[in-house]
């Protein structure tokens, strides 16, 4: 489990770290968009990302648990092949919003949702939407790794099996591809028949990512995927997220602001069910447009 590669990676990390030069460059562009800043519910993106096609578009989304409003008038866009992180204090609604994106909130009784969520061209809350098909487009990775009590192979093949895929060759090919995609292939290729629950925590989480990849979704939703992992395993998952960005659109909820800074292109800050501010990650962390954001990221919050 102690992987020498993981430690190396920690040392010469290629990811964007708030270095002075970098900060400076981004500050430069951000200063031009002060006007947009004053409207915190509008998505803050730089021109290059604005020109990238939008994968997800949340419009005037309100969500109620019974009488209690959990999400208040959320407007948000997620660009294709980007990593967007949701940050904010506990109970701010970031996980709830994430679970709106593949309609996992449907499973909870007494939930009421208003507004629209567009995935590509389809409104996923339109009546008659095929929720099953939707969830195939949006894979999910959970806070606590939750492999099924099956073999490693069956875990990854599960998504295809429930779609009726029984061809051994197709399954083997998909399992190998997904495990390679999740960077787990080398570690488990000799014991695909073993129980998935014998893997270490980090491996289990990467297995869950592989499981989500197997059905070739368009979006991967990650709900605090590293909160139960040690720093080395966390680093591996973060590295993986940056790899996956090339092929998938990723939305990640995290409590770890360093993580948000390391992996994401865009960051959205939530507070009390409201989207306070969104924007390019570098910009949001170095020059937040809102007082609350600044307080939160500098740790002066509450």
């Amino acid at each position: 489990m102690m992987n020498p590669g993981a430690i190396d990676m920690e040392i010469d990390d290629p990811r964007p770290v708030p270095e002075p030069t970098l900060l400076h460059a981004s500050l430069d562009g951000a200063a031009k968009r002060v006007g947009i800043f004053s409207q915190p519910d509008l998505p803050l993106t730089d021109p290059s990302v604005l020109s990238a096609p939008t994968m997800l578009k949340v419009e005037r989304l309100n969500l109620f648990y019974g009488e209690k409003q959990a999400l208040d008038d959320i407007n948000l866009q997620v660009a294709r092949n980007s990593v967007t992180s949701f940050i904010g204090p506990s109970g701010c609604g970031k996980s709830t919003l994430l679970r709106c994106l593949n309609r996992m909130n449907d499973l909870i009784d007494d939930v009421r949702i208003q507004g629209r969520v567009m995935m590509g061209d389809t409104d996923i809350y339109a009546p008659g939407t095929d929720v099953i098909a939707l969830r195939k487009r949006a894979g999910m990775v959970f806070q606590k790794s939750n492999p099924f009590p099956k073999s490693i192979f069956e875990n990854v093949a599960y998504g295809l099996r429930i779609q009726g895929q029984g061809d051994r060759v197709v399954l083997e090919e998909a399992v190998e591809r997904s495990l390679k995609g999740a960077g787990l292939w080398e570690e488990v290729k000799d014991r695909l028949k073993d129980s998935a629950q014998g893997l270490s925590g980090g491996q289990q989480q990467r297995l869950c990512i592989a499981r989500a990849l197997a059905v070739r979704p368009e979006i991967i939703l990650m709900d605090e995927p590293c909160s139960a992992l040690d720093p080395i395993a966390t680093a591996r998952v973060e590295e993986l997220i940056l790899e996956l960005k090339r092929e998938f659109t990723i939305v990640i909820v995290t409590h770890n602001m360093q993580q948000a800074a390391r992996v994401s292109d865009h960051t959205a800050f939530f507070w009390m069910g409201k989207l306070i501010e969104t924007g390019l990650t570098e910009k949001l962390f170095t020059n937040p447009g809102h007082r609350m954001t600044e307080d939160y990221i500098t740790g002066r919050f509450g």
Binding site: N102, M104, L107, I132, A133, L134, R135, K136, G139, M140, F142, K144, N146, P147, F148, P149, Y158, G159, R161, I162, Q163, S195, A196, Q197, G198, C208, R211, A212, V215
Partner: protein
């Protein structure tokens, strides 16, 4: 005082207390099983035959009991004297003071026979077709050497009676039913064909009967001349002797041989003499089969109920009420289930099935009378709450995260239940089944109303098509205990049988449970020990 309080606070006292209570419970269970086993298992060991003189004449038999002095009542000794056909009873109480010194005559014999319980006395002669062959001690050796041959003949007769004759009877009955159907249609040629078939069958039947008669008379040719200790004589065909036990002339190994042979007879043979002798194999078989059929019925019933209650139903007051009702079902006295089974399953359901599918054989009921299917169904109703509760708990224990993982993959609710939730819940479901078996295997009352009989002529599983005969009545160890112990004309003689049957019932339940436990262990290993 404060030291005592300190000890209480530290809890050491409670460790001892709980350990003592556990030890007490263990001692009780071991005592119970040990007592039953000892009482039952000792029954097959040949006891010495004691001859004593009393003022009323000599007595020869096994000593089976002692009663100490009780006020006016003198101390008494109980003898099993056998010879019910001569004395009218198997046992005799004699004041101990009147007894002379006991003797153990080497030529005394205990002869187990097909009727009237054992004969205890001596062999004086052996004759064949009225011609004396041997007398005195030579008769014993001669009879002992002839015995295996006569046993073989008897077994042969039994197998013909059970197998071929039974089969012929069934075929003749089928032709009779077909004939009755044809008579309505007035198809003369078909009728004639049937009659020819029937006649052919009848001929075979008659031939069989003749050969049977021959074998029977053959087995009656050898006659033992017997004499009781008080001089009365009896003739006994060698064909009706089961076993000759010269207990006083045997060494330990001979006795062990007798013991094992008796034990085997008990386990593998049919009962004789209104269940007080012979074996209890049909009862063991019936018990196991009934429990298996019950398990097959109760698991789907309970699991599907629990699935709906836990996974699909909207959790509200209706579901709560249903749950309370299901739990209370477990507290309903079992005889009430028996009455329900008789009224609903046997009369209503069985009667309707007979009307629809077996109208040919009416008024003889097929399913409209007690049978193993109805008994098992009644018991599965009785035990379904256990399975429902266990399954509901097992379903609840499957982590929410795994359900969500499956749903987030695009699985439907049913796919999630079938692929993820149910496999994880299987050990818990098996726990429910184990409890259901434990409860169901020991029930007697509802069975008495729905299909158990004192003596079943045929087993619910045999070689004739369709092999499983769920309409048949069956024997059950629990009912056997009740019947032998309380309904038997000779309950004193049957007492050891009661213990032995109880022991076997315990054994059957334990073995069935071990199977389920083993299955659960294997499943848990496969699931990686993640669920309870």
């Amino acid at each position: 005082m404060s030291r005592l309080a300190e000890r209480f606070r530290q809890g050491g006292v409670f460790v001892w207390l709980s350990a003592t209570v556990l030890a007490f419970c263990l001692a009780m269970i071991i005592g119970l099983v040990g007592y039953i086993a000892a009482k039952g298992m000792g029954y097959f060991w040949p006891s010495p035959l004691v001859q004593v003189q009393t003022p009323d004449g000599p007595i020869l038999g096994e000593i089976t009991g002692q009663q100490p002095t009780h006020g006016e009542e003198p101390a008494k000794t109980q003898f099993r004297v056998g010879n019910r056909d001569i004395y009218g009873q198997d046992f005799r109480w004699v004041p101990t003071a009147d007894l002379s010194a006991p003797e153990f005559p080497k030529d005394a014999l205990l002869i187990e026979r097909l009727e009237y319980g054992p004969f205890i006395g001596r062999i004086v002669s052996l004759s064949h077709d009225g011609q004396p062959v041997a007398t005195g001690p030579a008769a014993i050796t001669e009879a002992a050497s002839r015995l295996p041959e006569t046993l073989r003949i008897r077994r042969h007769i039994q197998s013909i009676e059970k197998g071929q004759v039974g089969d012929l009877n069934r075929r003749i009955e089928r032709i009779r039913l077909a004939r009755r159907k044809l008579e309505e249609g007035r198809d003369a040629s078909a009728l004639q064909a049937l009659d020819a078939k029937a006649a052919a069958l009848q001929t075979t039947y008659d031939e069989l009967q003749t050969s049977l008669e021959q074998s029977r008379s053959e087995s009656k040719a050898w006659i033992l001349g017997l004499q009781t200790v008080d001089g009365q004589t009896r003739d006994l065909p060698l064909g009706s002797v089961v076993r000759m036990v010269p207990a006083n002339a045997m060494n330990r190994f001979d006795k062990l041989g007798v013991y094992l042979s008796r034990l085997w007879e008990f386990l593998a043979d049919d009962p004789r003499e209104s269940n007080t002798e012979g074996g209890i194999f049909p009862a063991i078989f019936g018990t196991v089969m009934m429990v298996l059929v019950m398990s097959v019925l109760v698991v789907p019933l309970g699991v599907i109920t629990a699935l709906y209650l836990r996974e699909y139903a909207r959790q509200g007051w209706v579901v709560r009420a249903v749950r309370v009702a299901v739990n209370n079902l477990a507290g309903v006295p079992s005889i009430v289930f028996g009455v329900f089974g008789l009224g609903f399953f046997v009369y209503s359901l069985g009667g309707t099935i007979d009307q629809l599918f077996f109208s040919d054989s009416l008024p003889t009921p097929t399913y409209g009378t007690g049978g193993i299917l109805w008994a098992s169904l009644t018991l599965s109703l009785l035990t379904v709450p256990v399975v429902v509760v266990a399954t509901e708990e097992a379903l609840g224990a499957v982590p929410r995260s795994q359900r969500e993982a499956s749903l987030a993959m695009g699985a439907t609710k049913w796919q999630t239940l079938w692929n993820i939730v149910l496999p994880s819940a299987t050990p818990g479901i098996l726990t429910g089944l184990i409890l259901a078996i434990a409860r169901g295997a020991g029930e007697v009352a509802p069975l008495m109303l729905t299909g158990v009989v004192k003596l079943a002529p045929s087993m619910p599983l045999d070689g004739t098509f369709p092999f499983f005969h769920l309409d048949r009545k069956f024997m059950h160890l629990g009912f056997h205990i009740y019947d032998v112990g309380f309904q038997s004309p000779n309950s004193e003689a049957a007492k050891p049988m009661v213990f032995m049957a109880s022991f076997l019932l315990l054994l059957v339940v334990v073995i069935l449970n071990l199977f389920a436990l083993n299955l659960r262990r294997k499943l848990r290993e496969r699931l990686g020990g993640s669920t309870f």
